[in-house]
Symmetry: none
Subunit: 228 residues, 2 copies
DNA sequence: CCGGAATGTCACAGAACTGTCACAAATCAC
DNA sequence: GTGATTTGTGACAGTTCTGTGACATTCCGG
């Protein structure tokens, strides 16, 4: 499914601009202007990338960055920092602290989009078009095709996104809410049980009789896809 | 053989930086600071891509670009232009003149490399030979001919461009908007459903009864042409 | 100026997909 | 065991998407 991005920016106008542009590109976007809250949100939704203004209130960006890098759970999430023109020193310090790239304000939205895309490509090739395969299941996002054991499978749009979402997060238990956020989008208002139904449809589509079901139900928690 | 790239840049330091980076990636690089010379070199060595500074002396980049696009021999070589920050107008004019992408100075070498790679990846299929063939379909851009299984087919202009667009991008899902941009042109204002109609006409034209339809409909996403 | 070919839109029908529900089956807490 | 939760499953009605034929218009060669 589409990558989720967390925007940490306390200038409301700029924040809206970013959100709008990123959404238009198909990313899932959440935002906050507060560093402390940002750290919580990262843990909660595990975004695929973070856009972080260096000069937010309360907690300086660099501190947020440092703390994200310290936690093993979040250490690998790519961070794109926004700095004011001329703050050369900040930039260097930022990159040393663990930011992956920077953009100087003011910037063109298109450039920013390109940077974000580049970051994602680097951190998670699977999100930008490379094949995912998984035991005997093969999913190619570019051609939108799925095969199992060489045989081509037909999946509907939602089943495809769902399978992709799982294959990008192997061996992790995913709650129904996480799945809804990731596959349907943050602001969808859909019954959690609907996930069950689509899981069933996905299972039916990918499991030929006699084959192992790669999707494991975790009672009272959600579902997970196992590499066997 | 590795792709050859021509760098047109009159700032010696920047030119060296580019050359060094591109060489390190395995590209063959030649460079010049003069627009007129650039045109000669293009004819001489037929590079696979051109990196073109918009503000070189003698001949403005836009003029070089225009002249390259006018000559059928060089019209399809991808051009990446370098612009100064904030020259939004130049950028737009550049893209309209036929540049394929742009990078704003100052830029990170890494970003530039990514862009160049993307450009080459996009243009490659058409570079691999003048006529494209594909399963049993054969398309010759020069003579505007299409054959399937040896038998000559008659396609209208739009159908021809459409088929070519697909054959240059095999195994990829192409959205209706992408197809419109690629076949009709970025600034056309045409209903997305029109693509469906032309797809149908194309299918009718290339598929004899009993033959496999190489065009796959991907619901809620677009169309793709499959090999095999 | 004429006639055929090509093009862009539309409307409609059929196909595919979706979200919910109700009930059955499985699992859990005691 | 027994009742309470939680998940699997089939059905279904509504919605969205695509295929297709028709049509008015434009383009172009003669």
């Amino acid at each position: 499914m589409n990558p989720d991005i967390l925007v940490v920016e306390d200038d409301t106008a700029l924040c809206d601009l970013l959100t709008w542009n990123l959404s238009a590109e198909g990313y899932g976007v959440r935002s906050t202007g507060d560093g402390e809250e940002a750290l919580l949100m990262v843990r909660e939704q595990a975004p695929d990338a973070i856009i972080l203004d260096w000069l937010i209130e309360q907690v300086p960006g660099i501190e947020v960055c440092r703390r994200l890098r310290k936690d093993k759970e979040t250490a690998r999430i790519p961070i794109l920092m926004l700095t004011a023109r001329g703050e050369e020193e900040d930039r260097i310090r930022g990159l040393k602290t663990g930011a992956d790239d920077y953009v100087t304000k003011p910037f063109s939205p298109r450039e920013l989009m390109a940077r974000v895309e580049a970051l994602l490509r680097r951190s998670r090739p699977s999100l930008t078009g490379d094949n995912l395969n998984f035991a005997d299941i093969e999913l190619d996002p570019a051609s939108h095709r799925v095969r199992r054991g060489g045989e081509s499978l037909h999946l509907g749009p939602t089943e495809f996104k769902l399978l992709r979402y799982f294959m990008e997060r192997p061996n992790r238990v995913l709650s129904r809410q996480q799945i809804l956020d990731g596959v349907w989008g943050m602001d969808s208002d859909i019954d959690e049980r609907t996930v069950d139904v689509h899981i069933r449809r996905l299972r039916k589509a990918i499991n030929r009789p006699g084959e192992r079901d790669p999707i494991r139900t975790v009672r009272a928690a959600g579902y997970a896809m196992d590499v066997s």
